[in-house]
Symmetry: D2
């Protein structure tokens, strides 16, 4: 099994009321994959959300696609990192 640790970065305007509820619902459906989420206020309108995720690469890809496609998300990116097992120490 290929296990991968990755980051999903989302940018959205928190004034769009349903975006946050939608993102939380999706995240909760995959709570065994999403380790923790960090929220910061980027500026007056925009929130940036960083999700630390761990799981099979295909599952992570599908969750990221779903989050990034959610209505109200302005920008989203998946950054895949290896577990480092295949990298020189």
């Amino acid at each position: 099994m290929l296990v991968s640790g990755s980051t999903i970065t989302l940018l959205y305007d928190h004034h769009r009321q349903h975006v946050q509820a939608a993102l939380t619902d999706i995240q909760h459906d995959h709570h065994e994959v999403i380790i923790a989420t960090l929220h910061v206020h980027l500026d007056h309108d925009n929130c940036m959300e960083l999700l630390a995720v761990r799981g099979k690469a295909a599952v992570i890809k599908r969750i990221a696609d779903e989050l990034i496609a959610a209505k109200g998300v302005k920008h989203g990116k998946l950054t895949v990192t290896s577990t480092g097992k295949d990298l020189p120490t």
Copy 2:
């Protein structure tokens, strides 16, 4: 001035004793840019660190390069997100 919110993801083996001190020193030199850092234990050996950063794109790029080049870092990526001001709401 172009201000950008971005994510720097770092993967390292915490058993490499000086890697964490080195990363903290670099982060502290730029504490006005690095908003907050989220740490998770990816597996027995590997830590994943997600840095939420806000600042000029060129400054962020330079900090990311310095962190990713630090001895002991196995993997690192910079994910640039727009502030969304140039995007349709």
Copy 3:
């Protein structure tokens, strides 16, 4: 001016739809005080939210009271830490 770094811990059921929107609204009103927020899924229903805050003690106390009193929050606590300036190194 007394500046203090503190933690606000909140526990709520994310199925209560309006609780998250209410908490985000309050947090956004005080975005200059709330540095960053960490979300974790505690169990199937409950979310735990950790807010890192920095500011005058009286302001932090008022924000914490408002958040903890929000409808849907089951449990909330404010943990005040000193900046350490008055503590021996």
Copy 4:
């Protein structure tokens, strides 16, 4: 089994070189309990660290005691929250 979600808040001067390595070692020994850790720069010298933990109350208490007693930690507090199962919804 009583499972509890809690927050451990730590305040330390990052210039004290071994404090961070010591804290990471302790945290790694208990990585099944510590979900994620949020770091912020409180001021020029002081770091604040918020640990989201989940586990048996007695285990969490022991880990918190160990972290707070670590050399270089100026201030530390354990905030216990219920899982909410015993609270009215």
